[in-house]
Structure formats: C-alpha cells, structure tokens
C-alpha cells in the first residue's frame, strides 16, 4: 500500500518540482522587450560616446552612477578612479520657477570644461645674464597642497550651460564654521541661478582628499560623459 502511494505521488511531485525550478530560474529579461531594447539602446549610445572619446587625444571624465565612480580617462585607459558618495542633478530656480533641462545629460559629451575657481599657476621666472648671475639656490617649491589649495566646492563649466560641481565630503558641516560654509555655498548657488548660465548642474560628492587631488590634477579642457544607470543601483 505504501509503495503504491509513493509511485502515484512521485511523478506528480516531480512535475511540480520541475515547474517550480523553471519558474524561479526564468530569465529576468522576460520583461517588456521594448523596455529592454530601450535600455540596450542607451548602453549602445553610451559606448559609442566612450569610443569616440577614446579615439581622441583629450582627457575626459566618466561619471558612472551605477558604479558610483568618477574616472579620469585618456584613450580609453582609466588613469584615476574616485569613489563618489552621492550624485545629484541640480536645476536653477528663480522665485520657485525651475529652469534648465533634465534631458540630454547622458547622451552627449560635455565639452570645453573650464574650472572655477581657476587653478592659478605661479611660474618662477629667472633671467640669467652678466648682470643677473644665476641664483645660488633656487627656492624649494611648495607641496602640491600648498601650491593649489583646493576649495570645498569647485565647478567645471561646460558648453551649453552645463556644469559639474565637485563637493568635498566634510564632517565639519555641523560646526559653526560648517554653517558659515553652508551659507556661503547657498549664496553661491543663488548667484549662479540669478546671474550664471542657469544650466543644469550635476553635483558629485567625493572624499575630501580625492576632491582636492582631482582639483589639482584635472587637465584643462577635459570633457565629461555620464554613463547610464542611476546612483545607488
């Protein structure tokens, strides 16, 4: 009797098990083909942009929201990679009316990047002739941090009003100095919204040291490409 029950139950259980396995291992792309095609198209557009940049001789930044990195690249080779703790999109607002466009951030290459504040380079000039003999000792130059002190926030302005703002993560925000700093930045945003290019701004937060390192080393006229994906994914 027990054997007969086992024989009748086993095939049904086996079929059920197979169905369960198939259902749980069904490919995730059982999603809408149109949605998948749109995602693939975005990836293709982004890859084409990266190949175009890699084929040139200029440096460029790649902002990867999914990987949470900001990378400095040349010829497709990643030279430096900085972890990003947050990525935000900013739109200018004047008396509660928002401007700027949220479209066209990713599928275009942001070009003609100009840093603000500008990284001023003081060049030591020496003239040597009969009246001006060579100095016995040339002064020891400052360290990179002394030569180019990095601000807490700095900007790269691109063509068509787009901008990338790099913010140094600062645990001192809660102190009174941090409050003053926040007020100063608020005033800066206000001025930019009123008198600036009024374009869309992407703001990224880096570790303080990384923000300073990138400020000192970012080559002039670097481009930027934002990859598909959302921050935190």
């Amino acid at each position: 009797m027990t054997l007969a029950i086992r024989r009748s139950v086993t095939p049904a259980a086996g079929t059920l098990a197979v169905l369960l396995v198939v259902a749980t291992h069904a490919p995730a792309s059982a999603e809408d083909p149109a949605s998948e095609a749109a995602d693939l198209a975005r990836s293709i557009a982004s890859l084409r942009g990266q190949i175009e940049l890699a084929s040139g001789d200029a440096f460029y930044l790649l902002l990867d929201p999914a990987g949470a990195t900001l990378e400095l690249v040349l010829h497709g080779v990643v030279l430096e990679s900085y972890p990003v703790s947050s990525i935000e999109v900013g739109r200018p607002r004047v008396v509660y009316v928002e401007g700027g466009a949220a479209d066209g951030l990713r599928d275009r290459i942001w070009t003609h990047g100009e840093m603000h504040p500008v990284r001023e380079q003081d060049r030591l000039e020496i003239r040597v002739d009969e009246d001006n003999p060579a100095p016995e000792e040339i002064p020891v130059p400052p360290t990179p941090e002394e030569r180019y002190p990095a601000p807490d926030r700095w900007l790269v302005r691109y063509a068509e009003g787009l901008s990338l703002q790099v913010v140094a993560a600062d645990p001192a925000e809660s102190s009174s100095f941090g409050l003053w700093s926040a007020l100063t930045h608020r005033a800066g945003d206000l001025a930019a919204a009123l008198f600036g290019d009024r374009g869309t701004r992407v703001r990224v937060e880096l570790a303080r040291e990384d923000a300073g390192t990138l400020y000192r080393s970012l080559p002039p006229a670097s481009s930027l490409l934002i990859l598909p994906g959302e921050s935190g994914s």
Binding site: A37, G76, E88, L124, P144, D189, S231
Partner: protein
C-alpha cells in the same frame, strides 16, 4: 561773553538711542523709522525678500534613471533585443581592448605621483617629482625655456642602465656657465640615477640625487623617482610600455 555751543549742544533732535557725535570719531547713527506704517512696510519687504531669496538657487535631487538622455524619451530603438545585445557586446569589447593588457605607467604630475599598473591592478604607487613650471630666460632677448612636464600618452622608447646626462644648453645657461664647444664637456655621470626610461623629445623617467625633494615639482620636465621605486619600474616595464601623464 557769548555762549559757546558745541555741536552736541545744537538743537538738532537726536532720536532716542542714537550715538552722540564726538570730535575725531565717525559715529553711525541708527535712525529707527518713526512711522508705524514705515516699519510695517519695511517688515513686509524684508519678508518678501526672504521668501524670494529662499525660492532662488539650485534645487538638487538624486540622479535618476530617467535623467538624461534624449534616447530615453525617443521612439523605440530599431532592432531586436538580440541584435542590440550583440552590437552592445561588440562595442564593449572594442572599448576593453583600449586598456593595455600588460604594464603601463600613469603619472599625476601635479600631485607628483607615479603608478605602475597592470590591467586594473596597481602594482606600485610611488612618490615622484615632475616639472617645476619655472621659466628660464637667457639674458635680454635670448632664448627661453619652460620647464613643464608634458601631458598625454607616450611610450617607453628605450631603457638605459647607468644613464649619462648629456647636458643641454639650458643647464649651462641656468648655471651661468659658458656653453661648451666640446660635446664631451656636456656629459655628467651619476646624476640621473641607476636607470632611465626614455619617453622621447628629451623626457626621461630617471633617478635623483635629491630624494628629499621627491613629492615636489622640482624638475626641468623629466620625472624623477626614488631609487627603489625606479628599480622596480625599470625591471617590470618593456620598450613599448605605454606611459600616460596628466
């Protein structure tokens, strides 16, 4: 004798709380509006200004998947998902081939760091020294040199052991010495360290007698490394190894 009146005794009505004028000092006199209407108007203007300013600036929110592109809002992409996947994979493979499979060198000339990498791995992170940016003028109306390290992509063109420095003209100008006619008088031994990697156009990665200055921009354009780091880099790279300087 006529009565002498000082300015403070003049019959100029000062509102209560105003500071008195004193000789030799500039006093700021705060004048409160007398009229209640004026005070209310000022308060309203201040509130409106605060509201306007509060509503002006940049508004930030996290970057979402829908932020971006024109493709996101365009008509459905042509081609089946399978064909698009194939195209995507080909493009990704093209991009991957851009990264050198072997060693390559990355130099951050502003922060004076040199990295020896292999694929995505950093094999060595070293302190170096890059160009000082100094400008040397040869007298009035003479030649000038700018001591920058160039940015861009280069290759190791030659590897040299116990390199000898053939001093260029600027080295003699800088020292206010006559430029020798005899080429052998330009040769200097030992100042470039034990090894050198030639990058072209007169630029080298080499050693230094002044390791205490590593980390500062002190060179005439070349990249200087400490002895141990230079030895490791020299041993691991080959002629043709890419070098990226930014």
């Amino acid at each position: 004798m006529p009565e002498t009146r000082t300015p403070r005794d003049a019959d100029v009505p000062f509102p209560a709380g105003a500071l008195e004028r004193r000789p030799g000092r500039v006093a700021i006199v705060a004048v409160a509006p007398r009229s209640r209407v004026a005070r209310i108007a000022i308060a309203i203007v201040a509130i409106v200004a605060a509201v306007v300013l509060w509503g002006t600036g940049y508004v930030y929110r996290p970057l979402g998947p829908d932020d971006g592109g024109a493709v996101a809002s365009a008509a459905p992409a042509p081609g089946s998902p399978a064909r698009l996947r194939s195209e995507r994979d080909k493009l990704a493979a093209t991009l991957r081939r851009k990264t050198p499979s072997g060693h390559y060198i990355v130099v951050d000339q502003t922060n004076n760091r040199l990295y020896l990498k292999r694929g995505e791995e950093t094999v060595l992170s070293a302190v170096c020294s890059a160009g000082s940016g100094m400008v040397l003028h040869e007298g009035e109306g003479g030649r000038s040199w700018i001591f920058d390290t160039p940015r861009g992509a280069f290759k190791v063109r030659n590897k040299i052991e116990n390199p000898v420095w053939r001093k260029p003209d600027w080295a003699f100008v800088e020292a206010n010495e006559p430029i020798p006619a005899d080429p052998s008088e330009r040769l200097e031994y030992g100042s470039l360290g034990e090894y050198a990697l030639y990058l072209g156009d007169g630029y080298l990665i080499h050693g230094t007698l002044y390791e205490r200055l590593l980390g500062r921009s002190v060179t005439h354009g070349c990249i200087r490394l400490g002895r141990d780091d230079l030895r490791q880099v020299y041993r691991e790279v080959r002629i043709g190894t890419p070098v990226f300087i930014f």
